[in-house]
């Protein structure tokens, strides 16, 4: 008996070593988001392919993978990154370039992958995963009336009280221009055209400065995604920009008196990239294709209010409503890509930010120093 248990121990140990050698490691943001990925498509994919998928947390940015590569010991296969990082990492040669329609399966109706995704990819190394929104929300107890538009966010006469905005320039400049009267146009084209000129940048900065120095308004800057709903619930601010998934969690998950406004929202994306020379590149590639399939992407929306990239995934969700894990909430209206929510929106332009983020953040910081 004792011998047998010893043997089993040795065997299981050997197995754990060999299985970990064939494991695919995915780095993502952690928390409820990674949970949704793991439950939504990670576990089903691992089961189907007979591999192990390990999820590790990281806090964004490319410094870790760059350091891994420089040290000659890459430990991640797949990373969940921002658009800007796919561009920077692709330029640095850190990631594998895809042959999109060959590497990723078509939709169930046969539409090729490149047509099924909501928009094109910012770089050859990226495959879309979720779309999330930079929208704003307000506390229904503290706001008299109903804010409906992005202009209302900046309207301190009608809706007095402090606002919470993101600490950096990203998306703040865009919503400032949208509120200042620039029609975003297709995918926010007009906004970025304006931001490509010094005048446009100045106009956006002035709009924000006006809001933040207004005695009826004022700004609190948030740096972590959990902060905006927290500020709203505690009554610290009356309105806050933030990520729609976080607002959804507070509103639906916790029943907080929060309401989201979708007008002038910025659609932003999360991508997966495949690390060049990762420990298990071949399996990782297979897993990635399965995770970003129609079924896979729809799966994660069961657990979190971020939209799957594929249009065909939305159809799967609509058929399966109520799709949310609580079994009573319809998920399609909560999606940033739902038709009712995309009447007035812009797509966060990754290339623009890859070009200008350093300079604009310096200017934004200089503006804040002048308050």
């Amino acid at each position: 008996m004792k011998k047998l248990s010893k043997l089993l121990l040795v065997l299981s140990f050997a197995l754990s070593i060999s299985s970990s050698a064939f494991a695919v490691t995915v780095a993502s943001w952690g928390g409820a988001y990674t949970e949704s990925q793991k439950l939504g498509y990670g576990d089903p994919t691992a089961k189907k392919l007979g591999i192990t998928i390990n999820w590790v947390d990281y806090s964004g940015g490319l410094s870790e993978i760059k350091a891994q590569k420089e040290a000659g010991k890459i430990t991640w296969d797949i990373i969940d990154v921002y658009a800007m990082d796919t561009i920077n990492g692709c330029d640095e040669g850190l990631f594998v370039e895809f042959d999109f329609d060959k590497d990723f399966p078509p939709a169930p109706d046969g539409t090729p992958a490149s047509k099924d995704f909501f928009t094109g990819m910012p770089s050859k190394c990226a495959v879309g995963n979720i779309l999330y929104s930079w929208n704003y929300a307000y506390n229904t107890n503290n706001v008299k009336g109903t804010p409906k538009t992005i202009k209302d966010f900046f309207n301190t006469k009608k809706f007095p009280g402090k606002r919470a905005i993101y600490k950096g320039a990203l998306t703040n400049l865009e919503i400032a221009l949208a509120a200042d009267g620039i029609k975003p146009g297709k995918g926010g084209k007009n906004i970025y055209k304006a931001l490509n000129t010094d005048k446009g940048v100045e106009r956006a900065m002035n709009k924000i400065k006006e809001l933040c120095t207004d005695p009826n308004g004022g700004c609190v800057f948030w740096s972590a995604g959990a902060q905006p709903p927290e500020f709203l619930v505690s009554g610290e601010v009356v309105m806050a920009t933030g990520w729609n998934g976080r607002f959804f969690n507070a509103e639906v998950g916790e029943g907080a008196p929060i309401k989201q406004v979708w007008d002038g929202q910025g659609l932003d994306y999360e991508y997966f990239v495949l690390v060049k020379g990762g420990p298990n590149e071949a399996d990782a590639k297979k897993a990635l294709a399965m995770m970003t399939s129609t079924e896979g992407l729809a799966g994660s929306a069961k657990y979190i209010a971020y939209a799957p990239w594929r249009k065909s995934s939305l159809k799967v969700m609509a058929k399966g409503e109520p799709w949310y894990k609580d079994g009573k909430t319809n998920m399609v209206p909560q999606m940033p890509t739902a038709p009712a929510n995309t009447k007035n929106f812009f797509l966060v332009d990754a290339q623009f930010w890859a070009d200008n983020s350093a300079e604009l953040n310096e200017k934004f910081e200089a503006m804040k120093a002048g308050f």
Binding site: G61, S63, K66, L360, K368
Partner: protein, 417 residues
């Protein structure tokens, strides 16, 4: 005298001096071997990384090697008017080679650090250059994007010509070297680093001061009350040490925000009006409060350990010689605690100067410090050379403070416990 000494032999006939030296050398080697692991560890974790940072911050060979022809033809270009066809052609040749090797992305990253806007125009150039016709490259390149026809972008390329550069350090104080080789400030709406340096120093200074003012009485109390109370008090001092930094920061947010516990209390007792609550969070006040609390133990402990060694009879002696309590404290007790003050202040100041998570969360509009900027360039823009340069500037600052301290108080005087 020395001749006499030489006569002294040990039992095995070797002169004593040599024998002693041998024994000593053995001991020295033993001692060295004992510290060797530590030395090795320090080399790997400290000396090498700093050396590497130094190299990174000045090394610009990558671009120099990527555009050899361009820089050669640029040698005589003074940057006053658009480059000639010859330079454009050289650039095109270099660029084609980079595209073949798939390295143009790296070039765009490097150039983008110097002048924002290079990333997209290089990508566009790669696409368009496939259909370029031979000859007249100037016109063809300039037609790709209006920025290629902007002389500023060509000046930015030329700035990369030398293999080594101080540009990252200049950028750290909002300066750059222009075409005439003069060092000038960047445009006014981009001057941010000088503000951040000053803000970092200011916050570190005041946090140190506040810590000192609060820790001194606490440490005195700890050192003088009976053991059974002092143990309890010590646990109170150390308790925050055992709590996560983020938890402590978040609790301050809950306490001090406008709708927070403290303000609620003020309103309840009628100290302030409900619609006129003071702002104690998301500004510098918030940063001072949170950072002082977090760093307080680093001041209390060195002070306590020094005060513990001061005999109470010294104070009694001072008093019996006719000193008032204040005079005895100032003339006898205080000077004896200086080593502890020095250690505590240095420790707190150095820790405070590198803080960035807490200020970012509670500092509001003034929550960005120089370390936030370093983290931004490490993680987001991947401009590690700039991050290294700023890191080294921070390190130099700390060393300078250490040097000043050494001159004023003497480093031998420092006492950590």
């Amino acid at each position: 005298m020395s001749a006499e000494l030489k006569q002294i032999l040990t039992t095995d006939g070797i002169p004593l001096e040599i024998s002693l030296k041998r024994a000593e050398r053995k001991n020295k080697i033993k001692a060295f071997l004992l510290v060797a692991p530590l030395l090795f560890f320090l080399m790997i974790t400290y000396i090498f990384p700093i050396g590497d940072m130094l190299m990174r911050s000045v090394d610009d060979k990558m671009v120099t090697n990527m555009l050899p022809n361009t820089f050669k033809s640029m040698e005589n270009w003074d940057g006053t008017e658009m480059p000639s066809e010859e330079i454009f052609e050289a650039f095109y040749i270099d660029f084609q080679k980079l595209v073949e090797e798939k390295r143009e992305g790296k070039l765009s990253t490097q150039l983008n650090y110097t002048k924002n806007g290079f990333k997209s125009i290089i990508k566009k150039l790669r696409r368009k250059s496939k259909t370029f016709e031979e000859g007249n490259y100037k016109e063809q390149i300039m037609a790709v994007h209006r920025r290629w026809a902007d002389i500023d972008y060509w000046r930015a390329i030329k700035r990369h010509a030398p293999s080594y550069t101080t540009s990252k350090y200049l950028k750290g104080i909002d300066m750059y070297k222009n075409e005439e080789g003069k060092i000038v400030s960047v445009e006014e709406d981009r001057r941010i680093h000088r503000v951040l340096w000053l803000r970092t120093l200011e916050i570190a200074f005041f946090v140190t001061l506040l810590c000192f003012l609060m820790a001194y009485p606490i440490a005195y109390l700890l050192a003088t009350i009976p053991m059974k109370y002092s143990n309890l008090l010590m646990i109170c001092v150390l308790l925050p040490f055992w709590t996560s930094l983020l938890v402590r920061t978040a609790s301050w947010m809950i306490l001090l925000q406008q709708q927070g516990v403290v303000n609620d209390f003020f309103v309840m007792i009628g100290l302030v009006a409900d619609d006129n609550r003071p702002e104690m969070m998301y500004n510098k006040t918030g940063t001072y409060v949170a950072m002082t609390q977090i760093l307080l133990p680093f001041m209390v402990l060195p002070l306590y350990s020094v005060m513990k060694t001061i005999s109470p009879s010294l104070m009694r002696a001072g008093k019996s010689l006719g000193g008032t309590p204040f005079v005895t404290f100032w003339k006898v007790y205080f000077p004896l605690t200086i080593p502890g003050i020095g250690a505590g202040c240095l420790l707190v100041f150095i820790l405070a100067i590198g803080y960035y998570i807490t200020p970012a969360l509670v500092g509001g509009a003034s929550g960005t410090l120089i370390s936030n900027q370093i983290a931004f360039h490490m993680k987001s823009t991947l401009d590690w050379s700039f991050a290294s340069a700023m890191g080294l500037m921070l390190l130099t600052g700390v060393l300078a403070i250490y040097w000043v301290y050494n001159k004023l108080v003497g480093i031998d005087n420092i006492k950590l416990g």
